[in-house]
Symmetry: none
DNA sequence: GTATTGACTG
DNA sequence: CAGTCAATAC
């Protein structure tokens, strides 16, 4: 099976690109973030008419998550356990025994900003969500835009990013703490030394020959799935189009 | 020769469509209105690289006129004679003995609005411009978005449009008064009974089988040119595209 | 409905 | 740079 995460930065703006990606790559699961649209305006019919299942939760202008799949989910939940549940940032679907949690982790704005403390807390609450329902033996994918670069290899000029909300030591520590639940970072698992990014800030001029970006999007898997993983990668193509996106799809292939 | 008028509603948005129209139809003169761009940002290089001459005068967001031609104009003027000259609404070019005046006549907003009085005045000032320089014997085209439908046949449900700034009896009278300078409406000359429109309001759902629109764009010619006119028409195609335009090119063919 | 701007966000 | 919104115009 193929599972993908893609921060589409407005599903309405990126709809054609997403539909083409589905058609070309035929994934089993596509996790979307930053759909930026209320549920009434989500273009569900376009997915359904093309033969895909889709569940989603959004709000006006900001956030918004969705899971597109070939097979229908058996159960779907939105948000964390306690208020604020942040439904437009988290969707959890079950497909038989397989669970998929798709998150759009708060960016954090600034190290001093209250949203950064909220981000740290958010990751802890997500870990609690996992611990309450699953064990490391559960076949579980955690996918999404996690707004954290794990290691120096995951960001350009890491030494200059130590005060950045996506690379500060405290956020990396918080991320590692959730990973200790039992997750394997499938991209890094298959490419231990590959410097490749899933996010390119629009404000940094894009140069394909000298890429400056971040790997902040992940497909993470518990041991039963990680053991069956056969490959992973990032599709750079959407960054290089006439109407480019800042994030790129990151996928994993798993013999499941 | 082929001469065309097209309100492009933003030359930057419509650039590809305009270049394709030039390539496909090879007109001698193309008059554009509502280019909606200041001169510094007008995409003149695109026209020149494709082998066309272009003169233009625009402003930010509103109005803006241009004349595209295969041969270079010998002289070019912008605006009416007195202030406000409204340069982004009027360009006059001479090609040898042939004169072309391209206007974007004020829409008028509302019968009660001061812009409607300004519109009536504007047509009178334009007539004075013609009278000062030309006679009915001058080979002269007056083209553009004139924001007036002449006759009942030129608008859908005319009886409901009598209070509209583009069909009120006073504006039609003002228009006829300018036409008395000696102009022939080339489209109507060749198609005395054809109900065809050059403008379709974006807010009215477009139904190709039941068109509801306006003929407010014109190619008008003085007698020496009208006598040589061999055909005229409206190209509906641009209204039916993925990125449709509200106006359609209206052209005339003249043995000149 | 489809353009424009200007302020806001990441 | 590329999304969002709320005005404004036609």
């Amino acid at each position: 099976m193929k599972i993908v995460t893609f921060n589409c930065n407005s599903i309405r703006t990126r709809l054609e690109a997403v539909m083409r990606w589905l058609e070309d790559h035929q994934p089993d699961i596509l996790c979307l973030q930053e759909t930026k649209v209320v549920d009434e305006l989500f273009p569900a019919d376009v997915f359904r008419e093309a033969g895909w299942q889709v569940v989603f939760r959004g709000e006006k202008s900001y956030n918004g998550v969705a899971i597109v799949s070939r097979e229908a989910a058996d159960e779907v939940w939105f948000g964390l356990d306690e208020e604020p549940k942040d439904e437009p940032r988290m969707v959890h679907a079950r497909f038989g025994k397989l669970h998929v949690v798709n998150t759009y982790v708060p960016q954090g704005r600034d190290i001093e900003h209250e949203m950064y403390a909220y981000k740290l807390e958010w990751l802890a609450r997500l870990k609690a969500y996992f611990q309450k329902r699953f064990t490391a033996k559960t076949p579980l994918f955690w996918c999404g835009d996690l707004n954290v670069a794990r290691h120096p290899i995951d960001v350009t000029n890491p030494k200059t990013k130590l005060d950045h909300v996506c690379y500060h030591p405290t956020i990396r520590e918080a991320f590692e703490d959730v990973l200790e639940f039992g997750f394997t970072d499938l991209f890094r698992h298959h490419h231990p030394d590959l410097e490749d990014y899933s996010f390119y800030d629009y404000r940094v001029p894009f140069d394909p020959a000298n890429k400056r970006g971040w790997r902040i999007d992940y497909v993470l898997a518990t041991p039963p799935l990680a053991a069956k993983s056969v490959g992973a990668g990032i599709d750079i193509e959407p960054r290089a189009r006439p109407k480019p996106s800042d994030h790129c799809p990151l996928f994993a292939d798993v013999d499941w």
